[in-house]
């Protein structure tokens, strides 16, 4: 099992650090393009939410991103220092009343692009698992 952790100050442009982090993981562990594409979207959406909504862009607060590589899966955990949110009560962005809204698609994408997702710590932390087979 391999584990890598980085702490990211809550600045919007730091999403590039996450993109580089995922690119490096793809190279190092030879992720296939499908898994890589899903990881890139789901993890960057999650960190974007953690920076903007969790930590409310306060740069002295960090987002913790951890990758755990196991034999058959790769798991990413994203944790912020905010107040959490009600992850069981989210609108469906594909329903007619929401489809034209500008936002509200990030968590829907996360849930649909990873194989397992779980929110803990009142929504401050989310774990996303992608199967490698």
């Amino acid at each position: 099992m391999n584990t890598v952790n980085i702490d990211i100050p809550s600045l919007p442009e730091n999403i590039r650090i996450v993109e580089s982090f995922i690119d490096n993981i793809k190279e190092k562990y030879s992720l296939n393009d499908d898994v890589y594409g899903n990881v890139m979207i789901a993890v960057t959406e999650s960190v974007t939410n953690a920076i903007a909504h969790g930590n409310k862009g306060e740069k002295n607060k960090n987002v913790s991103l951890t990758m755990i590589l196991e034999d058959t899966s790769i798991k990413f955990t994203v944790t912020d220092e905010g107040e959490g949110f009600d992850f069981n009560n989210l609108d469906d962005p594909t329903s007619p009343e929401n489809i034209e809204k500008l936002g509200g698609r990030g968590i829907f994408l996360m849930k649909n692009l990873c194989d397992e997702v779980s929110f803990t710590e009142d929504g401050r932390s989310v774990a996303m698992t992608f199967y490698l087979s």
Partner: protein, 110 residues
């Protein structure tokens, strides 16, 4: 990081986006789209060089639905399978025209 170029040939405006439209760089796509929608009637967007698009990037296209309804023609083309998958997951092809190739995009304009 995203690199965006806008060109105009005859009466057709073409926007080419290359790279990653994440939450941060979606502002650059938004600026290019806003400028185009202010003056143009026929817009095609080449996304063949796009590695991924975030929900913020999708929001840029959704923000112009009113303009599209008011008669401005927008067609996206060249989406990679993973980018197209995101549009389809969210049901956006029912709101925004998507073509495979530039030729098909130009045909959809007419």
């Amino acid at each position: 990081m995203v690199d965006i170029k806008t060109t105009k040939e005859n009466d057709i405006c073409k926007i080419v986006a290359v790279g990653e439209v994440d939450a941060s760089s979606s502002i650059e796509l938004d600026n290019a789209m806003k400028s185009a929608f202010e003056t143009e009637k026929k817009i095609i967007v080449d996304l063949s060089g796009l590695e991924y698009i975030s929900s913020a990037g999708l929001g840029v296209f959704v923000s112009h639905l009113e303009d599209i309804r008011s008669g401005i023609n927008l067609v996206l083309f060249g989406l990679s399978p993973s980018v197209l998958q995101v549009f389809e997951l969210l049901g956006l092809p029912q709101l925004i025209q998507i073509a495979s190739t530039e030729e098909e995009a130009l045909n959809k304009l007419n």
